[in-house]
Symmetry: C2
Subunit: 305 residues, 2 copies
Amino acid sequence: MHIHFLGTGAGLPSKDRNVTSIVLDLLQERNGLWMFDCGEATQHQILHTSIKPRKIEKIFITHLHGDHIFGLPGLLSSRSFQGGEEPVTIYGPTGIKQFIETALTVSQAKLSYPIMIEELKEGIIFEDDQFSVSVKKLDHAIDCFGFRIDEKDSQGPLLVEKLKEDGITPGPIYRQFKTKETVQLPNGNKVHSKDYIGEPKKGKSVAILGDTRTKEEYVSFVENVELLIHEATFNKEQVQLAYDYFHSTTAQAAKIAQKANVKKLILTHISSRFQLDEIDQLLLEAKQYFEETVIAHDFYSTSIK
Amino acid sequence: MHIHFLGTGAGLPSKDRNVTSIVLDLLQERNGLWMFDCGEATQHQILHTSIKPRKIEKIFITHLHGDHIFGLPGLLSSRSFQGGEEPVTIYGPTGIKQFIETALTVSQAKLSYPIMIEELKEGIIFEDDQFSVSVKKLDHAIDCFGFRIDEKDSQGPLLVEKLKEDGITPGPIYRQFKTKETVQLPNGNKVHSKDYIGEPKKGKSVAILGDTRTKEEYVSFVENVELLIHEATFNKEQVQLAYDYFHSTTAQAAKIAQKANVKKLILTHISSRFQLDEIDQLLLEAKQYFEETVIAHDFYSTSIK
Ligand SMILES: [Zn+2]
Ligand SMILES: [Zn+2]
């Protein structure tokens, strides 16, 4: 599980930071990429990475401000141009369907793959045997959502040494230990599978919040995740500005991370008002409350542990 | 009068060429910029130029394919963010209004300036005492238009030496020679203004065609322009491909330039199939028919003479 930041700026693109897009790389887990937000020129940013648009399986949109959605029509069209065939599901606030359908209709884009568009409400919006995605409404000037992605625990490894010790020799019977509760041995004895399966591998969790004012109730939503991605449009002092413009400060984001006992915090949605040399200061402000903090920059990428 | 190429690629962005956008710089003539097409990331390209979005007075859209319009919502929103106040008029094929209004509505962009959107038909779509713009329908897979911009001839200079020779001394009376047909002198005599005005300055003309198959009838539409901007998506050999995909070859574009007796031809909408070292070959193909040809690249800029 890896995360790639394609755009880490706020509001409008600058030479240093593009507008928002984040890719959760689940290639190892499910041969797919999940994108979160798609600001204008996200497809252009992708040209400078090894990301393959045809591997995008799902796109989650936090809110409909232009800096989070204006790259969608181009990304979807180019994915088709490049011969993408696998379906894509897009989740976003009410209005996302009208936006996408209008753009694709007027431009007469005939996509080479099916798209499904699901408009968001709070709760679990996706679940299969590997992952679940839950959604929480945030506090922004426009309907805006946070996503929590929980990987399910996966079965532990087969304890081959123990099987051999107990005289159960390798063969097709080993497969039964993975799928059945009890296994009948060739000698007629029955054994419990769980006695021959190691500790389950704990699934990882990631929370990605859209633009928002800070709110105490986010603590329980993001509790114990390996990675929290939170906006930090303003510095520690700009509490009133953050409130007025429905955004958060560095310190507010870090306090949520601390209270929620997350493993790592990545701050993004950084305003172009901050010069490059002020970024260190922003980081210090956050670290005062939560040490394991990083400030993302475009093309920053890390694996989730 | 200058022209700036912000995007010169075909279909989808590459590392070398962005999708289409061209700016006709009329800052000297009318303190304004006229944009032709606005592919995704046009506002990003602008960041690398001295172009000021608030100076954009008109945007002309040749057709609604995504590579020509997906940058519009972002450009309009950012122009507002940056405090643009002057109105913008957008001209484009039927559907452009729905596209822009949907994007601005769902993203809740409240522009700081008025926009007018006019859907195109053939004929003269704009005229004032300086310029006229005429429109011709082209032959593309989707409704597509070409624009011809004609600057009107402007009044010649006052012939001050001749005025003095005839005993008409400098003073407020000189202004009357610019606005009245006859001027009454202090001694009561009447003279014709035209006898004291030099040769009029000839206006310049530019033609910008959208994506199109070649057609003989374009010759009269672009006749005698100082600058013709024409697509060249395919090379000289690819006549059948050009026809099938509703595009032109290098040679076809150059033949139009030759027959229409234009002063200069700039080719754009260059496919990313062509490697950098093949561009010279494309240029040679065009020059075989029309010597004064240039192949545009992103950020290519020239003045129109
Ligand atoms: Zn934002
Ligand atoms: Zn095109």
